[in-house]
Amino acid sequence: MKKLYSTRKYSINNLRRAKRSLKSRLIFKKYRKLKNKADLGVSKPARTYKRKFEEPYKDYKRIHAPENFSFIDNSEGVVEFISQLKSHFDEKKKVFVVLKDVKIITYDAIVVLLSIMVRFKASKIDFNGDFPDNGNARRILDESKFLKYLFQNFRNEDRYQLGQNSSIVTHAWKDVDSELGNELIKNASKTIWGTERRCQGVQRTLIELMLNTNNHADDSRKGEKHWWLSVHHDKHNKKVSFAFIDFGVGVFTSLNNKRHGSKFFGIVDKLKERVKFGNNAELLKLIMDGTLHRTATGKPYHGKGLPGINKVRERNQISNLNIITNDVHASLDKDLFTIMPKSFSGTFVYWELNKENLNCYGEN
């Protein structure tokens, strides 16, 4: 044995291990010294409370949700919030969402929060948060079951269903699911009219959006991205709101990414030759009224995609249609198209169904 310990190989290894050990002991000594200093004069129960409840997320990146957490009313604030979360998601950093100061939270923001939370958890990136002090905001989060899911693990799956038997239900999938649309409409019509009815406009809207996600969320990777849909039933006002989101590339980026051979390849340049428009807000207006489609195909517009959804609104089959994509927020009922300072990589669509909207009697 003596011979082994005295070999050159052993002495090098031993020295290296001793150096490492010393280094880690010094680091721990420094940490202990600081900790003892901080805990000086603090009772043991107080120290335990501090460790368990005050600083459990100290290594998490804290991201503050906007006070007005509404994608429709404060799109800029929510886009900034999503953008911060996305950058941490890309870097796989633990995130703590600070919701404490949120004063207003609207139902359209629920889909944003839930979808982001599941994406983090499914990718095994730690995600946590606190709850709003504001009672109303807290109640809405409770309804969505966000608090329940916050402490639950998620696996990377194709399909998610959150908040069953609640006034806010959330679904996510990658394919087009016409049966789901039908079920959601049946439930919505019971809330609004008290009986099951068919709302073909809502069904068309859902199918077009699911297809858009499937085909255009990222032009190079079709069918890989989830779409997310939250439906809220307001029994008091007899109104059902639908909030749909995909984290693809957004409408304008998708248009710019069209490849040679697509009828939409170079469409923005073609459109510029025929119609004057200054920015993406004006371009979205041209998309929604079918001008872009007519320019691309040279044919009358047949109601496909986003403009088809606008047609549904014009026929009074849905109300209060809002679209947020890249740097544009469009409020179609108000004919308002605004540019946002920060771009959202994806497409968010919100609409409502109320008792004034067209529908058909009879189950199918």
Partner: protein
């Protein structure tokens, strides 16, 4: 007069879906392959009028209709004129679908001429 009747609700599904089979259930491609093409080709062979009833379903995405009807010409190479001559579309619940279907057929015909 004898007539072939096709109902999306009764012959296919109450919830028509996307364009292609790989995009989801009850696609236009499946409807065309399983229901529409066999019945339309039979009607054209026997010189019978045929009626396609779109009513009673949950609603249609545009791609479903385009793939179903446009595909008759684009994929199955059926005669546009003969289809127009013998086809009646029923859509009382969504009357605009009749124009849409006619446009899809016309577009597919014009594309096929190129």
């Amino acid at each position: 007069m004898e007539k072939i009747k096709i109902s999306v609700l009764e012959d296919f599904s109450p919830t028509p879906g996307p364009r292609y089979i790989h995009e989801g259930k009850f696609s236009g491609e499946l409807f065309r392959q399983q229901v529409l093409f066999p019945k339309v080709s039979e009607a054209l062979e026997k010189n019978l009028h045929f009626e396609v009833d779109l009513d009673g379903t949950a609603g249609y995405g545009t791609s479903f209709l385009e793939e179903s009807f446009g595909g008759l010409i684009r994929i199955h190479d059926l005669s546009y004129q003969r289809i127009l001559e013998l086809m009646t579309i029923i859509s009382n619940e969504e009357d605009y679908l009749i124009d849409d279907v006619n446009d899809y057929l016309k577009d597919a015909y014009e594309e096929s001429k190129k």
